[in-house]
Symmetry: C2
Subunit: 348 residues, 2 copies
Amino acid sequence: MADIELDERKVKILNAIIKNYLETGEPVGSRTISKYTDLNLSSATIRNEMSDLEELGYIVQPHTSAGRIPSDKGYRFYVNNLIAAKDKEVSDMQEWMIEKTEKMESLLKNVAKMLATNTQYATLVSAPSVVSNKVKFVQLSAVDEHQVLSVVVMDGNIVKNKIIQVEKPLDNETMLKLNMLLNTNLNGLTVDQINLAVISRLKEQAGIHDEIISQVLDTVAETITEDDDLQVYTSGATNIFKYPELADSKKASELLTTFEEKQSLVELLTDNGKTDETGIQVYIGEETPIATMKDCSIVTATYELGDGVKGTIGIVGPKRMDYENVVNNIKSLKGQLDKILKDEDSKT
Amino acid sequence: MADIELDERKVKILNAIIKNYLETGEPVGSRTISKYTDLNLSSATIRNEMSDLEELGYIVQPHTSAGRIPSDKGYRFYVNNLIAAKDKEVSDMQEWMIEKTEKMESLLKNVAKMLATNTQYATLVSAPSVVSNKVKFVQLSAVDEHQVLSVVVMDGNIVKNKIIQVEKPLDNETMLKLNMLLNTNLNGLTVDQINLAVISRLKEQAGIHDEIISQVLDTVAETITEDDDLQVYTSGATNIFKYPELADSKKASELLTTFEEKQSLVELLTDNGKTDETGIQVYIGEETPIATMKDCSIVTATYELGDGVKGTIGIVGPKRMDYENVVNNIKSLKGQLDKILKDEDSKT
DNA sequence: ATTAGCACTCCTCATTAGTGAGTGCTAGCA
DNA sequence: TGCTAGCACTCACTAATGAGGAGTGCTAAT
């Protein structure tokens, strides 16, 4: 791609500038590079090269007579061409942690937390979307005379429940019949297959005349289809204070509010098909779909739990984030999630 | 109490200073008071009185030749003596919202959110502690050959569940027997009554020799006793950016981290018995039990769900928070929570 | 007891000058 | 032709200075 316009030396210099800037966060000057790199060149030569790089749009001067910092294009080049994809295992901690947890919810919370601790950036994890998930098991039980408990187990062992208030108790026989009915009719269906038609067919079979049964069936349907209000888990949002370029009151406030509200984060996590073959996606600066994150970079990965049921992991940090570390971390984690969730699924 | 050392005029002036400071956040000078109040006094007179008030510790000068701001003692006096406890109803929105939600979790989330929107401060709500909550209903069901679902309903309709992996399927009869056994033995017990002794008695009755049954019973016990990792819901944490005295990078970072980690918030929410007859507790500045909140004030209230099962609502804001509004808000909310939770409970 | 007046304090803000990091350019060198 | 040394220039950052103003404390007069 950009190989035509950049000779080897320019690439080396650009790389050096970015590496240095990632560490310090300060504009980097020609003298620094002249000493930092192994190509023995004077600062003057570097200056000429830097001038070229600036003209080509890879670096930028915050003001005349300051050093240079990478532009979005520069970062992009770095991410595309310069990251050594070392597949080294990222800490055993991860595996251990994942082994231990069994509930989806706490698993994802832990994933977010661990990733935040590991990277020192803000992280977000979305739960696998349930829309195309299948019903595995349904059960109604009489808790007491006026309350019926409806429990649904989905593929991937996601358990949902709801308590139904009923006017008068359901007798045992009806209960049994309903359970049979529900399981034979709903098992194997996905959430979006359970629509009004299915429900009314159920009601017919159960004896549509009974008001209570009708109500119960409605609630079961609700239990299943109820969207668990967009499950996004975040962690380490306050890490942004570690990066001066994001820590000023105004920016931090906006960013943290975005994180707190979670709503808009969904946009980020819904797979837009632009992920590359590794399933990992990097947004730099202006590329991000969320306005309040214009000064950030975001790395996301989608993980799968079989059958196209997908969730997403994301990391948000300053543009000068340690892309190498982050990408490796997220890649390793994605792999493990893919694995564990499929395993758990196949255990059934 | 302080009635001896403060004559009526001083009280009026102190009140005026605090009111004014609550609004502006700026130190308030003698001239301002001289015009603001109805007691026609010149600024010089006010100055003398303020000098006295300062000596008595109710107000403080941030630096020589600045106006005065209330000290913690001043705020305390204000809260104790000067707040008009108008019991006016706080927005119908509240009731409406509470009616609508049925799940404890989303109910509390909404409470936190609404309170944050209403007051523009940060809020936290802890779920009712489950320790002394009673088991109402237990059920095991075979999801498939290798998985058994354990569901427990507690008083207040809190539902817990867990999936148990079993080596080989349990036959219907055993299942039925176990369910009978569990319900007759556990119903009505509180969480902390369910200890090892109870469990082993259960095992004995069920036929201790069976490894699988033993495992299943252990997991049921786990399901019940498992602490739902300290359920604290927060909202509006980013509101602190609205108050310059808290918004600087360092303080905001500390505060928000405290909120994000939630762990330490528990300290705040565990009832320490110091609440007054209304169940409402106000911490001002140094009085707060959490170090990072030394520059804040906190108002908490405990709500009950019968039988001494308690949860807490809290508001965190700057010391110059609108105590009157906050106290009223929280009082009204507490009342409604008390009511609704008891109602729901008595519906059983 | 209250008030007017005045000197004083000290924060705030804008201006100024000094410093240094870093650049662009030019001329000289291999 | 490519590299380098040198120099003038730019501009953010810092500290010092001073004017302005809000507010106080004290004193003397009412």
